[in-house]
């Protein structure tokens, strides 16, 4: 019986191994799972042997990554088997399959306890091991006492006691109350006398946990720890089997020194002397040896000793010895030691008096910043960041800037941020700071978050001396033919504010500045256009003596944008034109910006947030405790509100006197008259609207929410937006006073709409939209060129949703029919709205559902893209190599066959890409292309006019760089080829979407400067494409 059982397992494993591809493997696994399921279900009296066999198979399948959602009970029940072989399987498989809070575990607590307190040593071991590995709080409460007894029992053999020690450690971690401190300090002290090094290994781990929680209770153990170190350090009484490559248990040594780091000091002079002797021997006596394992073990001890020396704040001599050692390590070639050298040197920064010695290694550390290993580069960056101060800031920041050119994407944002912080904190003079930030934007604009350029604007605004310099620099950068958009923003802003300071220089008349900025205008995105328009208004103001030609040019631009698709831009254009007619008021309103209130650097805050992803012991923390240089006057007065996707720095209040002078109409302008968006101050102007309306606009959030949406021109509605805009009919007609981005929206989606849409493009059912009141689900069926979608509108409330309206804006390539949508969705009810599609031709345009409802007094208005995308009208097809090549050759060259090299591709492995293609309805045909790094896919496209059209796709990947590939697409229809290529491209390349909030209304969904996308280098690239 037993034999066939194990044979069955081996046969199954080799079957799985022989599967040619994932699909076959899945079939084989499914078959086996089906088999096991039936056995478990039908054969009530399954023998333990058989159970054992099936349970092993389950574990194997689970390990392969398949969901095993049944049979856990059978595995757990084996724990109660009377014989060792079954019990053993039960314990091991249970501890692999289940996690600590699984309900099945509760059922076996009694059995486990009986095994622990029973006389059978092997059963004790099994039970202790499982509880040690997955025991949770409940185990803690019911077993801790028994486990403690085993640990201190004199009759138990070491093999049980060492397991009991670690089992107790687990239970203690789950519930620290299980170890009673009073009784335990003496017990622990006795346990540390343990002669068996196996038991001592486990006991020391337990001790580290106990002492880290309450060092006061364990002072009596301190001398014992030093004794252990002495014993091991001198290799006294250490059995051969406990030496590792000749070193007496390196693990106990490391753990003991770790425990000692929890004691704040060592009072007793004898103990102290003994410990320092041990440490001295380790520091002096560790040599580099050839045997890599021996070397690692010795250095594991050495690095722990270094940490202990630093902790004990030893005399200067010993400290310098440590720094010298670390200095040696940061220069060695062996990567592990260098990594640890850099890491420990960063920790050493906390020690006073050694900074200068550390600084002497600066050149060596900079070399590591260029190491091929990202782990090492990270450590070097962290160390450089930590050791930077006023004396070396120039050198270090310059190095960082230089490194930016070649740094990998994974590090660029962190690098840019750190360089910006250092430049700000330790600038020897302000003009240097401006230089650094501008260089930063120039070299790595994509990785410079908006916070960084807002910050430079704040400094320039607050420091008059700096203004002419900054403006000159901005003017110089504008000469460059290719400029990052952030640079356009910052230059335009600075020149808008301070162009008059340059007026006497050559090439700096208002007109020349206008011309050079205007050259950039056609290539920039909306958020920059907004800034540039403000700059023009300011240039116009400084246009003295008036140059009518310049005035006409600027006015014509304002007029052009008066009917622009983006409300923000439109509003600015309208307001600036109105302002120009105001004459003298213009000068007041467009006067230079007042100084910013002093505030904490948003960058430091951001850096701290970014820390989550980097090592804990980062220098940033150390950094943030240090003094800043005197060069920059920054104090911590008010926190910024930098977390929103658009990163508003907060509303800036204008000194009221100034405001009153310019706006006689409304004093209430003070509060809302100035809003800040994208870091730019939007001057708000008295407008030719009745005061009553203005008041109405200023009162309460309702009105603020309202107007922009209604001011949107008609074509706006045809845009594919994924935005929610609240509209209030009352506010119609009046001009907006706030920017759309600032709207507080009372109803926000609680799902990420863009993400939902993207998911639904790949599958056929799921949630499209959800907020507090409603959930919209989708279920779709696709048949050739026909599509059938059912919208499920679910009211989540106990009161009805009224005025429900759904309108579809079909793109020209789709014929659509939406059945009637009921005006009211009853409480807690779901209504279905079927929707029919007919595809006319290939296009990537997307149908938009205009959806609105009223809840209470709030009108909620949502625009949702419907996942009726091009790939839904595809049907996968398999072709033979002959058919493929015949077609491939006949479709030669553009426009029928198009090829493109994509960069910034999401790094997908080939199987992942194949999966993606499958969900796009593209059939992956393996074996056609002989190169294993290439992928061939075929599909047929259906539309009403063309019926089935065969499409062939070939993807060539580069195994050494998964972020780029070449794609070739061929079909008999040039439009189809192009549209399909673009569509597939969108799936392969990360397109930044406005993920965190869909409230951000009319703006381009693919704006490449969305800050949320900054974490994602691929997205950045996509932005560039």
């Amino acid at each position: 019986m037993a034999l066939t059982g194990m044979r069955g397992l081996s046969v199954f494993i080799s079957d799985v191994r022989n599967c040619q591809n994932k699909e076959q493997e899945r079939l084989r696994v499914d078959k086996e799972l089906g088999n096991i399921r039936t056995r478990f279900k039908n054969e009530k009296a399954l023998t333990h042997y058989k159970k054992k066999k099936y349970v092993w198979k389950m574990l194997y399948i689970y390990m392969l990554g398949y969901d095993v959602d049944f049979g856990h009970m059978e595995a757990v029940s084996l724990i109660s088997a009377p014989k060792y072989p079954e019990k053993q399987v039960g314990y091991i498989v249970t501890s692999c399959l289940l996690t600590e809070n699984h309900e099945f575990l509760r059922m076996v607590i009694n059995t486990v306890r009986n095994d622990i307190i029973g006389r059978n040593e092997t059963f004790q071991c099994l039970a202790l091991t499982m509880v040690g590995n997955i025991g949770g709080k409940e185990f803690s409460e019911s077993l801790a006492t028994d486990v403690q007894k085993l640990l201190v029992s004199s009759s138990c053999r070491p093999l049980v006691r060492k397991k009991a020690a670690l089992c107790l450690l687990r239970l203690y971690r789950k519930n620290p109350d299980v170890v009673n401190i009073d009784g335990w300090s003496d017990r622990m002290s006795q346990l540390l006398d343990e002669r068996d090094l196996g038991v001592l290994t486990s006991v020391m781990s337990l001790f580290v946990a106990l002492v880290s929680n309450n060092v006061e209770a364990y002072w009596n153990c301190l001398p014992k720890c030093v004794k252990i170190l002495e014993r091991l350090g001198r290799n006294q009484d250490v059995p051969q089997e406990y030496t590792y490559h000749g070193i007496p248990s390196p693990w106990i040594q490391v753990k003991t020194m770790r425990a000692l780091q929890y004691f704040p000091t060592i009072e007793d002079p004898n103990t102290k002397r003994a410990l320092f002797e041990v440490l001295q021997r380790i520091l002096m006596g560790t040599d580099v040896v050839k045997n890599v394992n021996k070397n690692n073990a010795a250095h594991a001890i050495l690095f722990e000793a270094l940490a202990l020396v630093v902790h004990l704040d030893a005399e200067k001599e010993m400290m310098s010895q440590c720094v010298a050692l670390l200095g040696k390590f940061v220069a060695v070639r062996e990567p592990n030691i260098r990594y640890l050298g850099l890491e420990n040197m960063t920790r050493m920064l906390l020690v006073s008096d050694v900074q200068d010695i550390i600084k002497s290694h600066q050149a060596q550390i900079i070399i590591s910043l260029k190491d091929p290993d990202i782990s090492i580069r990270r450590r070097a960056l962290d160390l450089l960041y930590g050791m930077c101060d006023v004396t070396n800031a120039k050198d270090i920041v310059e190095e960082l800037l230089q490194y930016l050119n070649t740094a990998d994407f994974a590090m660029r944002e962190e690098l840019a941020l750190k360089a910006a912080i250092l430049a700000e904190k330790f600038a020897p003079d302000l003009s240097w700071y401006v230089d650094v930030i501008l260089q930063l934007i120039d070299k790595a604009g994509d990785f410079v978050s908006d916070d960084i350029w807002y910050r430079v604007v704040q400094f320039v605004t607050n420091n008059e001396d700096l203004q002419p310099y900054a403006a000159t620099k901005a003017r110089e950068y504008l000469e460059k033919p290719v400029l990052h958009e952030t640079m356009v923003k910052v230059s335009a802003y600075l020149l808008g504010e301070y162009n008059h300071l340059l007026a006497r220089r050559t090439g700096c008349t208002p007109k020349e500045i206008f011309i050079i900025i205007n050259e950039k205008l056609p290539t920039v995105t909306t958020s920059t256009v907004a800034i540039v328009l403000s700059t023009y208004a300011k240039i116009l103001m400084h246009n003295h003596p008036p140059d009518p030609e310049l005035q006409e040019q600027i006015w014509s631009i304002f007029r052009k944008y008066e009917s622009y698709i983006d409300v923000e831009i439109q509003q600015r254009a309208v307001e600036y034109i109105a302002l120009c007619n105001k004459g003298a008021a213009l000068v007041d309103v467009l006067a230079e910006m007042p100084k910013f209130p002093e505030r904490q650097s948003a960058l430091l805050k951001k850096a701290e947030v970014a820390e989550v992803d980097t090592a804990e012991q980062s220098a940033i923390r150390i950094r943030s405790q240090q003094q800043t240089s005197n060069a920059l006057v920054v104090t911590d007065q008010r926190p910024t509100e930098g977390s929103l996707p658009v990163s508003q720095l907060g509303v800036v209040r204008m000194p009221s006197g100034k405001m009153e002078a310019s706006t006689q109409d409304q004093t209430s302008f003070q509060d809302q008259g100035m809003t800040k968006e994208n870091g730019v101050i939007t001057e708000v102007v008295p407008q030719d609207v009745p005061p009553a309306d203005l008041l109405g606009d200023l009162l309460g959030p309702l009105a603020i929410n309202g107007s922009p949406a209604t001011a949107v021109p008609v074509e706006q509605r045809n845009q594919n937006l994924l935005s929610v805009v609240e509209a209030t009919p009352e506010a119609a007609g009046s001009l907006a006073l706030t920017t759309v981005d600032n709207q507080p929206n009372s109803i926000q989606p609680i799902v990420n709409i863009a993400e939902r849409f993207n998911e639904l493009c790949l599958k056929d059912s799921g949630v499209l939209y959800e907020d507090l009141h409603i959930q919209i689900g989708i279920k779709a069926e696709w048949q050739a060129h026909h599509g059938h979608i059912v919208l499920f509108l679910g009211n989540k409330n106990t009161s009805p949703l009224v005025s429900v309206q759904a309108l579809i804006l079909p793109p020209t390539h789709l014929k659509m029919e939406l059945s009637l949508v009921p005006e009211t969705v009853p409480p807690r009810a779901q209504v279905q709205c079927p929707l029919e599609f007919v595809n006319l031709r290939a296009s990537r345009d997307v149908a938009v559902l205009d959806f609105s409802y009223k809840f209470g007094t709030a009108m909620v208005y949502v625009k949702l893209r419907l996942p009726a995308v091009i790939n839904k009208f595809l049907q996968p097809i398999s072709v033979t190599a002959e058919e493929f090549f015949a077609q491939w050759k006949s479709l030669s060259g553009p426009p029928l066959k198009l090829q493109e090299v994509l960069r910034g591709v999401k790094p997908l492995s080939l199987p992942e890409m194949a999966n993606l293609f499958t969900s796009l309805h593209l059939a992956v045909n393996p074996g056609i292309d002989t190169n294993p790094n290439n992928l061939i896919a075929c599909t047929t496209f259906y539309s009403e006019s063309t019926r089935a059209t065969l499409c062939l796709i070939r993807v060539e990947t580069d195994p050494s760089d998964r972020t780029q590939l070449r794609i070739t697409i061929a079909s008999g229809d040039p439009t189809l080829t192009f549209e399909l290529k673009e569509s597939i491209k969108e799936y392969l390349v990360n397109i930044p979407t406005q993920t965190s909030s869909a409230v951000v209304a009319p703006s381009q969904p693919q704006s490449p400067v969305t800050p949320v996308a900054y974490n994602d280098p691929g997205a950045m690239l996509a932005g560039l494409l």
């Binding site: 014989k83 053993q88 690692n296 594991a300 640890l340 980097t614």
Partner: protein, 160 residues
């Protein structure tokens, strides 16, 4: 402490997983997917540590297998690196020059052995002799089954 131990092959196949911190099924798959994208792609002359999600992964490659151990960022990396080697030496002694196939067909053995080396994410026993003795003692009640299994694995390895 050690949060988990994972053995992955160069092709990304999982050969052993052991979780000492509570990870749900989904998280486990994510971890495996991310690490099999991260670790096998690293070049041969780089250091054995990878900083990952605020943790550190200490890994070591033996032939086609990567042994990966995830620890807290302030744990001692080299100590963990040698725990991996200690584990491999014991496997080697047990199987007699261990290869990936041994671990595939006797994956359960690998679990037994690991349980004798680590508990609760901490090292339990650093003596190879002691571990070997305990495993041998465990084997005796299931001796016949083991013989059968290893003969099959021999057959398999010859057939490969």
């Amino acid at each position: 402490m050690i949060h988990f131990v994972i053995l992955i092959s160069r092709q990304g196949k999982v050969r052993l997983t052991k979780w000492y911190s509570p990870y749900q099924q989904k998280e486990r798959s994510t971890v495996i997917r991310e690490l099999s994208g991260l670790i096998p792609t690293r070049g041969p002359k780089l250091c054995n540590f990878v900083e990952w999600k605020g943790y550190k992964v200490v890994y070591r490659r033996y032939a086609s297998l990567y042994f990966c151990i995830c620890i807290d960022p302030d744990d001692n990396e080299l100590e963990i690196l040698e725990i991996i080697h200690h584990f491999v030496e014991i496997l080697d002694r047990y199987f007699g020059s261990v290869c990936e196939l041994d671990l595939i067909f006797n994956f359960h053995k690998a679990y037994y052995i690991l349980d004798e080396i680590l508990i609760a994410g901490e090292l339990q026993e650093s003596s190879k002799k002691t571990v070997a003795r305990l495993i041998a003692a465990q084997d005796s009640p299931v001796e016949t089954a083991k013989e059968e299994a290893s003969s099959i694995s021999n057959m398999m390895s010859q057939a490969m």
